[in-house]
Subunit: 204 residues, 2 copies
């Protein structure tokens, strides 16, 4: 409102522009040279600013890594969609999607780490304003499949979320606890789906 003397703060568009630039370079670094190439020093060099400047725009590396989520989640979603069996049989479709989902992460453990293991566990007081829309979007496909499976649309939201969390767990376990003899991904995934298709929970 009131005009003040001196240089004005960053304009909204400037902020977004810079964030977009950082995002682009971080993505390029990650795609071309892998996870470890995305360091604050190298990234700042690519962007063309001082390392400290990054900290004026982001509260830490974690927030920058989140810029890469959207791309990976989009790629994963596309992969899942390609692997949808051409059946109309709902259970078959859901199973195919689930297998593709878990398979994608197991085939790309670096991507998995980026999305699910790069948060600062413990420091939950920091208000990280992530674009949760990305996450929501990539889960939507499963919500649809679960919905198709259950025309009455009972408990679709939390059945879907439980399935997704379960699949992420299967991926995590398969990736990180490698010397334990886990059942096949197919078997464990089938088990999760059995839960989704089960009768509604009695809310007591």
């Amino acid at each position: 409102m009131t005009k003040t003397v001196g240089r004005p703060p960053r304009s909204e568009t400037d902020v977004l522009e810079f964030r977009k630039k950082v995002s682009r370079h971080a993505m390029a670094l990650y795609r071309d040279e892998g996870f470890e190439a995305v360091s604050m020093r190298r990234l700042s060099k690519a962007v063309g600013c001082a390392p400290t400047t990054l900290y004026a725009h982001f509260q830490g590396k974690t927030e920058i890594l989140m810029l890469l989520w959207a791309d990976i989640l989009a790629e994963m979603t596309q992969y899942v969609q390609e692997n949808l069996k051409r059946t109309t049989e709902p259970t078959e479709r859901l199973k195919a999607a689930a297998l593709a989902f878990v398979g994608y992460w197991i085939d790309h453990p670096d991507h998995f780490r980026l999305v699910f293991m790069s948060n600062d566990v413990g420091r939950s007081d920091v208000d990280s304003f992530i674009e949760t829309g990305d996450v929501q979007g990539s889960f939507q496909i499963f919500a649809d499949l679960v919905g198709d499976l259950n025309p009455k649309r009972i408990d679709v939201k939390f059945r879907t979320d439980a399935l997704v969390a379960g699949m992420i767990g299967v991926a995590l376990c398969s990736i990180t606890i490698r010397n334990y003899t886990w059942p096949t991904v197919s078997m464990m995934t089938g088990q999760l789906i059995a839960g989704v298709t089960a009768a509604p929970q009695k809310s007591h």
Copy 2:
């Protein structure tokens, strides 16, 4: 067989002794001062050796952190056992155990990170000879509960593993993706259990 001249390699007992010593100090550091206190430099100081010596006995920090798994898993198992409802109703017992399991990790995110998020994802070529017995042991309680639930003991092993992986996924999601509005832990866990109690999978 043939005696060779010169100093012999470390004796088996010496190796074990040193590993035990490192384990003790790592544990003390972690319990007393938290995750970030367990650094190679501080740990070596506590042990009383040079930092580089640790690398002669372990292939990296990850292998040292694994020494802490057993303790945490034991504590978690005990917590689960304490929270077993006094019911004999199998489903109730399993549900109580599952809720305790997930709750433990959510209440101790640092422990969760230590056990499930400190592996070097991607470097799977390294043959990490972890004591998988620890993991096996802490899952056994669930195998028992699942077995009680299903007297015919059909698919107990992979039903249990799927449940455990699912619960770990629920914990991971609740811990790391905090701004997404997940259903309650109770609801998601109930969903997983529904899968365990479902009819056997048709193996096709």
